[in-house]
């Protein structure tokens, strides 16, 4: 903790060495977050760059009330939301028919998929579905708050989540069939 405090102090004094150390400590974790929210590696890298520049600019606002990692993660998520906010449609969407029963076969397929493969499936989701999915499933944010954050209706948020999950399920099905055929 002392070490981290030292690095943050260095960053506040604009020391390049400290900034580099802070980057090395958190880059991989934050890139993971960016990859989940971005549709592709390029966008993720942009968000990572923008996010770190924001972190260095706003580090003086961090008061050590919570973890630095949590604070940084919030900045990267906000950065991602900012990037895609213009693409969000404000029209309300019909409630989605929910069909999310996982068969054993699908459950095991999900289990057998690597982190990278799941990440790819999430990245292929349309922007808005991907954001809602991440905020709800990964960050545990409730629909009311997601709706406020993205300036959409609560029902739209729910429907987006259901659609996202349906798409993921379909893709997992395709992958499963593909693996079976290959075997």
């Amino acid at each position: 903790m002392d070490k981290l405090q030292e690095i943050v102090d260095g960053c506040l004094e604009n020391k390049r060495q400290s900034q580099s150390e802070l980057y090395k400590l958190f880059a991989a974790k934050m890139y993971g977050v960016c990859l989940r929210y971005a549709g592709n590696n390029f966008d993720a890298q942009d968000i990572l760059q923008d996010g770190f520049v924001k972190v260095f600019e706003n580090l003086s606002n961090f008061k050590w009330n919570g973890s630095l990692e949590g604070w940084m993660k919030r900045i990267f998520i906000n950065q991602a939301l900012d990037r895609f906010r213009s693409k969000i449609t404000h029209l309300s969407v019909d409630e989605m028919e929910e069909n999310l029963e996982l068969t054993d076969k699908e459950a095991s397929a999900l289990d057998s998929l690597s982190e990278k493969e799941i990440l790819n499936l999430i990245q292929e989701l349309p922007d808005q579905y991907r954001l809602v999915f991440n905020l709800y499933v990964m960050e545990g944010i409730q629909h009311q708050d997601i709706a406020k954050e993205l300036n959409i209706g609560v029902s739209t948020s729910r429907s987006n989540l259901a659609r996202a999950k349906n798409i993921l399920k379909e893709k997992i099905e395709i992958q499963t069939n593909w693996i079976e055929k290959a075997i």
Partner: protein
Amino acid sequence: MKKRFREEMNKFDNEIKRKLKDLEVEPPQEIWSAIENRLDNKQKAPVFFWRKFAAAAALLILLVSASVFYFSRLFTSPQVADSAIPSADSDQTSTKQTLSPQNKEATKIIASVGDDMIASHNQLLSDRENATAKNSASTTNEKVLPTHENGFVETPSFHILEKLPSLTSYINTYKLPNNRIVLAFNSPVSNTPNRLKTIITDQNNDLAFSMASSALSISGYFAPQQSYRFQYGSGSSGFSESLESEIMSFATGLNINYKLNNRWELQSGLGYNIIGQRVNDIASFSHPSMMPLYSNDGNTINSHPQRMSTSMGGIVFTDQSLYFADVSSTRIITLKGSYDESIVNLLNKNGTGLIQQFEYLELPLSARYKLFEYGVTVYAKAGVIANYLLSGKVYLMDNMPSDNPIGHSVGISKFNFTGMSGLAFSYPLTNRMQLNLEPTATMFFRPMGQVRNLTNKTYPYSWSVYMGVSYKL
């Protein structure tokens, strides 16, 4: 049933959350250097931009107001315009005469020019009287003045004559105090080339010549150009430069030219410029469910970003069914779901590529120095152009020219600066109009944009020939 569904849903959520919660992926090495660059720029950039823009704007305002001031003075006192014509004979000699006391206006002019001019003017006045007496139409008189080889009129006080740019190789223009002009024809066919024959005429006969002394002119140009880009930096860019090539484009605009003195001129204005590049040899195929692609080394490419990276930023496709993959030797576009059949047909043609076009609004500021003049006036010019990016559209090559871009470029800086230098050839068409031909080289001072995840920096440059006419106000 409802309960089971909730459980299944949670199972699905939890499984994904468990797998991705602690996902750590090492970002590419170049990201840190890009962040460092931006941290560096953050400290310098705003000052840089503001100062340069403020300086350019201030200079432009100064230029325009000075020109207007000068220009208005010139026209409020167009008193006398003197001119001369080439001489075919050379026998006449300078003869001094006394001032004509009855003409005060003449006294005023002549006193500042020198004895020879006094002589000429008095000759004119007496000739006029004679002409009137003879009821003849002639109002002029010829007078030979000795000149130096460089064309300066040799009068006892010739140093007060400011030589202005010549209209042609054999017409020299001199500026007298109070904005009066002497035009002296230095006839190349004359038997005595070192002598000038001067005729002083009434100002009304030759008002046009007096206007040629204006320091201000406007010009329009059109410049066909070859647009290239230069890459600087270390590390692999991830794609081969041979897959990209130059394009033909153009620049056009209007300029204001202000003559500072006999040698120096300043130029500014407003322009429109297109630069860009061709992205060649793009392979394409379609698949309804985005099967994994395989790169040359046999690895699966799982990622199908909707953005193609080039040395001029990234390309984002408008059509959401277009995806892109970058393998080592080629670029591949894949199409998914419902896509435009005509795009597939075009993509499948041999040698199909994309054209990245960037439209810039330009605010140029340049200085030009007169090197020499012999019929054609030759200048060396150099300057800086502030560029503002208007658009960065991407077209299918076989679909050009088309009003239908298939995407746009991203990651390009809105503002930039271009250095410009070249030669300018100026040929007089009339006493006010000039034909200009200016071979010019331009190059961006700063990299075109933040090309993310690349250490390479792209500096566009171009060769062009500015063609146009200028008009003296």
